[in-house]
């Protein structure tokens, strides 16, 4: 797909559509939680490739480290010990990070033109040089992903290694994943691959195995295969039905143009009042 990945589908704070004639392959990352061993190789590969180094933190009584996403950690493992059936322990380990929504709330919320772009291949990328650090992307994201750096007040998150994908490589996390829990390809292929995995899981007794590709955000370019597709919240509170907060979508949808129009109208109303009704003048008054 090479340079075509630079074609843009959407751009933050931009009201006119970008060129749309070309239609490159849509890419997707599939995270098969049933194959994930929580080794965190993806975390390392991500930091290594992107030249990031998070803090050497502390242990707070859990395996999760770094404890949360940050400007230096664009992906983290979230470990959950659950007993779905009595007496049968499952250790569900979810790789958390940007979902690359088809309808990205961050992009919608962003006020800075070009700080967030969605490439035609589906990758949602932050361009920090255009980021103004307002943090609105945080409000737009239904998955709580972007993080503002304490160093430079810019927002950071997974780029799906747009630099690697642009030259025809897979993202760093995908390449490194030892067990093949992470796979990457066209979105169509990934859905097909997931179907095979789900069939296998159903045979192994996971009746509710399912693909997580939530409609509420238009589908995602990072999808999960869940053993318990009916209970995504088991996986460290993966939202069951994520959607852009109505506060953001309505607000960024029609309200703001209408309000801007309102301000314009107020000015115009004054203007036309002036030219029709005219000023209030006190007759006796002398002019300066």
């Amino acid at each position: 797909m090479a340079l075509q990945s630079l074609d843009i589908k959407a751009r933050s704070a931009t009201t006119t559509p970008p060129p749309r004639a070309r239609n490159p392959v849509h890419v997707a990352k599939l995270i098969d939680i049933s194959k994930c061993i929580g080794c965190k190789a993806c975390q390392v590969a991500c930091m290594e490739w992107n030249d990031l180094r998070d803090e050497v933190g502390t242990n707070v009584g859990i395996y999760d480290n770094p404890r949360d996403l940050s400007d230096q950690s664009w992906t983290v493992m979230r470990f959950s010990e659950v007993e779905v059936e009595q007496g049968r322990l499952e250790w569900l380990i979810r790789k958390d990070g940007c979902m690359h929504c088809d309808d990205p709330g961050c992009l919608k919320a962003c006020p800075s033109p070009g700080a967030i772009v969605q490439y035609a291949n589906g990758i949602v990328d932050f361009h920090e040089e255009h980021c103004i650090g307002c943090g609105y992307c945080l409000t737009g994201c239904p998955f709580n992903i972007p993080r503002i750096s304490k160093k430079d007040s810019k927002a950071y998150k997974c780029t799906l290694c747009s630099d690697r994908v642009a030259v025809g490589l897979e993202p760093a996390c995908i390449k490194t994943c030892p067990t093949g829990a992470l796979v990457f390809g066209s979105k169509e292929d990934m859905i097909h691959h997931a179907e095979g995995r789900i069939a296998d899981l159903k045979e192994r007794g996971y009746a509710n195995a399912a693909l997580y590709n939530p409609r509420g955000v238009g589908g995602t370019h990072v999808m999960y295969v869940l053993q318990h597709g009916d209970q995504p919240e088991l996986y460290a509170n993966l939202p069951k039905d994520p959607h852009i907060s109505p506060l953001v979508s309505l607000w960024k949808g029609v309200t703001k143009p209408l309000m801007s129009l309102g301000i314009g109208l107020a000015v115009f109303a004054g203007f036309f009042h002036f030219v029709t009704v005219g000023p209030k003048e006190v007759e006796e008054e002398e002019t300066d």
Binding site: S34, K35, C36, I37, G38, C39, K40, A41, Q43, V44, M47, E48, R53, D54, E55, V56, G57, T58, N59, V60, G61, I62, Y63, N65, P66, E81, E83, L89, E90, W91, L92, I93, P178, T179, G180, A181, R197, D200, E203, R204
Partner: protein
């Protein structure tokens, strides 16, 4: 590994026991997920902890640390009583029908010949009945009560599911479920692979655990088949290679062994090792021992090694006993060792009972550290506060710390767990003044040699005559060394069947160990590596990854020992007639047309021996078959028996409650002073077990920022019940104590460590990851081996890190 990493994809069932492949070998574990995804294989994990391997398993069974023999003994009992064995395989390819000596006996946990004072056995009764023809007497009907089958059946009949559940703490239904799943692979076209690692080796009877696993695999007919085997997942990148090269107290390269004091006669030394076949028509490949040995001596001492001086046999040091790591530290502690060299080894962190190790090092006159990283051992004399509270002024050891290169800064080969020798290339210069290991070893040796040349000294001959034909003597090149261990012809080597045919001309590299000779005409530094560098070039650097048979053999990728063979004992994947048991996973087969064995692998067999000759697959054994009865090969008995760990929560062995001798391994070596360091269950009621985490590699990656980020701080894991009992919450700091010291760490409270019902009582496990120390970029911590006991496996002397006693309290 008998098989290899990629071959795991060919399996139907994976048993991970005594290991945690997903965490310790994630990239190899990929082939488990491949087998699951593409062969519908199942994964069983049996472990004291619900590990990250268990997280992706189909079935997990908990087990008390150190009770694997009981568990597997129970499996053997299940397979025999339910007749879930591969009949043809065990009858033909194992010692099932061999008769055992009448003197051999087993009484209440102790085999015949035991000497309680010496804690060792006189093994003379541990053997087969030998007939007048010099061969083992057999009973093909398997009815004789002295045949191995009947004796094994009787031995393991005690291991009932109830007994197993009570000893191991594994719920009975879980144990039976595992048995059922394993039993399915007794079908000739089904295989199971067993993946184990230090979870089996690090016990006072670890070798016997592995043997028990191998016995299960033999019963199921899974040894030699694609997707089968006993697969030891080795820990370090070249631990396989260094073992192959014999860098252990008693070994020579290629699993040849040094002579003992008693072996003064060269011929007797050879004869003892060049086993004669114990059954008619068998190959017994070790009959070639002399060829390997002479070629080795020629590689080391060149022209100085002659037939007249027995190829310098007397130049080799002879063993009065083994000088394994524990023995050496015991000697050091007694002041009998003056100097020590640590080349990329950090014993202060990785040897048991830190207080003893540290005290021993302080008695050295000199210590030489060769390492790319600043290890704990290199600073054992330095005060690092609570983590290493010593007084440097009182330590009189001279310490040298020599910086060496790391992988990225050198050329050379490493042997993977698959026995594949892979060449790697230098990418950059080392930092600062660091030098390669070869240059460092040469630097020390050449100066020693100069001193001996100049001043003379104790027995200088082997030093002065050591071959050193390097173009840059101070820096022997990896290429030269690789060619030397691969072997070359000193004179023309001819085909024994046709003396006019020259296989290798004088000066040429040899094609493999089949060309080695015992007349001094060949030189080879490590016979099993022979053929790695031939006249065709460096085969270890081959990079053709094509897989024409689709079962992952890739014979043109690098070079596997022996003879580029990828699956050991692969003859056993075929029936006696030479047809593969499962043609879809064919390794080799007999081709009557060409009169040769062939297929996707190099035959581990005499390549032209037709099936009707009755040669059996286990050509390295003089029997030609695999042994259930270990004869005299093991220290504690021919059949593995369950013993308790040296430190156990149980006061007696439940199998032998009245015999105190049979509580723990009766043949385990314990140094006198160390008995007092063992704790008892009243003071230390919990089972401690140490292990690795996937985020770290031993004691190296605490120096690596990226890994320090993933697991920054030392912690221990306890179950929810124990946490509640002790009032410990996740994130609290706790002190874990053994009778040898304590560590302080953060508590991780987890459902993954279960309370087990053992012999009618509750047993809690305390999990202690090993990775921290007082050097590195991760948060400093205590050396975990502060806690562990100074006792090893009776055969290998590998320390018992996996089961010991501790107590825990909130700080």
């Amino acid at each position: 590994m008998t098989n290899h990493w990629v071959d795991i994809k060919n399996t139907d069932l994976v048993l991970i026991m005594g290991g945690n492949a997903a965490e310790a070998h994630p990239c190899g574990f990929k082939w488990v997920t491949e087998a699951k995804a593409h062969r519908k294989a199942k994964l069983i994990v049996v472990d004291p902890r619900f590990t990250r391997s268990a997280a992706v398993s189909d079935f997990y069974a908990p087990i008390r640390a150190g009770t694997d023999i009981a568990f597997l003994g129970g499996v053997i009992n299940y397979l025999l009583t339910h007749d879930k064995i591969h009949h043809e395989y065990v009858k033909t390819y194992t010692d099932f029908s061999f008769l055992v000596k009448d003197e051999f006996a087993f009484n209440d946990g102790i085999y015949s010949g035991y000497n309680p004072e010496k804690r060792s056995y006189d093994k003379s009764s541990w053997g087969y009945q030998i007939g007048a023809d010099g061969y083992v007497v057999t009973d093909p009907t398997l009815q004789n009560p002295r045949c191995v089958y009947q004796m094994m059946k009787a031995h393991y009949s005690r291991y009932t599911p109830e007994v197993v559940a009570s000893i191991c703490g594994t719920p009975k239904d879980a144990f039976l479920k595992v048995c059922e799943m394993l039993a399915e692979t007794s079908a000739p076209n089904k295989t199971m692979t067993i993946m184990y690692a230090l979870g089996w080796t690090q016990h006072s009877y670890g070798s016997q655990m592995i043997r028990t696993g191998a016995m299960v695999q033999l019963l199921l007919g899974n040894i030699g088949a694609a997707g089968g085997g006993m697969n030891a997942l080795r820990g370090h990148s070249n631990i396989q290679g260094l073992t192959d090269l014999g860098l252990l107290s008693n070994l020579l390269p290629g699993y040849m062994s040094l002579p003992s004091d008693a072996e003064q006669d060269y011929k007797a030394y050879i004869e003892k090792r060049a086993f004669k076949p114990l059954r008619p028509g068998q190959l017994s490949y070790w009959q070639n021992y002399n060829k390997f040995f002479v070629s080795n001596m020629k590689a080391w001492w060149g022209d100085a090694a002659t037939a007249e001086n027995n190829w310098c046999f007397d130049w080799l040091p002879k063993l009065d006993k083994g000088y394994d790591l524990l023995q050496v530290f015991e000697n050091m502690n007694q002041g009998k060792v003056n100097g020590y060299l640590c080349q990329g080894f950090n014993p202060l962190a990785s040897a048991p009972c830190k207080v003893k190790v540290s005290g021993s090092l302080a008695k050295l006159k000199y210590l030489v550290i060769i390492d790319p990283l600043a290890t704990e051992t290199s600073e054992f004399w330095q005060n690092h506060g609570e983590y290493n509270d010593v007084d440097p002024a009182k330590i009189q050891t001279e310490v040298f710390r020599l910086p060496s290169t790391c992988f990225a800064e050198e050329d050379g080969s490493l042997v993977s767990s698959s026995r594949v020798l892979q060449w790697h290339w230098k990418a950059a210069e080392p930092p600062g003044d660091a030098k390669g290991d070869q240059e460092i070893m040469a630097g020390i040796f050449l100066r020693l040699r100069e001193l001996y040349k100049k001043d003379g000294g104790a027995f200088p001959d082997p030093i002065l005559n050591l071959t050193w034909k390097h173009r840059q003597p101070h820096a022997p090149s990896p290429e030269e060394l690789a060619k030397e261990f691969s072997g070359r012809a000193l004179k023309d080597v001819t085909d024994p069947k046709d003396p006019t045919k020259v296989l290798a001309k004088a000066g040429e590299q040899l094609n493999g160990f089949a060309e080695l000779r015992d007349d001094g005409s060949t030189s080879c530094g490590c016979w099993i590596f022979s053929g790695a560098w031939t006249e065709k070039g460096n085969l270890m650097a081959r990079r053709d990854n094509s897989d024409p048979f689709g079962i992952g053999q890739t014979l043109n990728w690098a070079f596997a020992w022996p003879a580029n063979r990828r699956v050991l004992y692969n003859r056993a994947s075929c029936d006696p007639g030479g047809k593969p048991y499962d043609p879809t996973r064919k390794l080799i087969a007999w081709d009557a047309a060409t009169g040769k064995w062939g297929g996707s692998d190099i035959p581990d067999f005499k390549p032209d021996s037709p099936p009707e000759d009755g040669m059996n697959p286990f050509i390295m054994n003089p029997e030609g078959v695999a042994r259930f009865f270990a004869v005299d090969k093991m220290a504690e008995g021919p059949f593995p028996e369950h013993y308790e760990p040296m430190e156990s929560p149980l006061a007696v062995n439940p199998l032998h409650p009245k015999n105190a001798l049979a509580r723990a391994n009766p043949a385990a070596r314990v140094f006198k002073e160390d008995w007092a360091t063992f704790g008892k269950a009243d003071q230390f009621p919990y089972v401690g077990t140490t292990y690795r985490l996937t985020e770290h590699f031993h004691f190296w990656t605490k120096h690596v920022r990226l890994n320090a980020i993933l697991q920054p701080e030392q912690f221990v894991e306890i179950g929810e019940d124990l946490a509640k009992e002790k009032g410990i919450k996740a994130g609290d700091h706790v002190r874990v104590k053994s009778n040898r010291g304590f560590i302080v760490a953060v508590a991780v409270v987890t459902k993954r460590l279960r309370t087990l019902d053992v012999e009618g009582r509750k047993v809690h496990t305390v999990g202690v990851p090993i990775h921290w120390g007082f050097m590195g970029v991760a948060k400093n911590g205590y050396i975990t081996n502060t806690l562990t006991p100074f006792v090893g496996d009776a055969n290998t002397q590998t320390p018992e890190f996996k089961a010991f006693l501790v107590n825990i309290e909130k700080v």
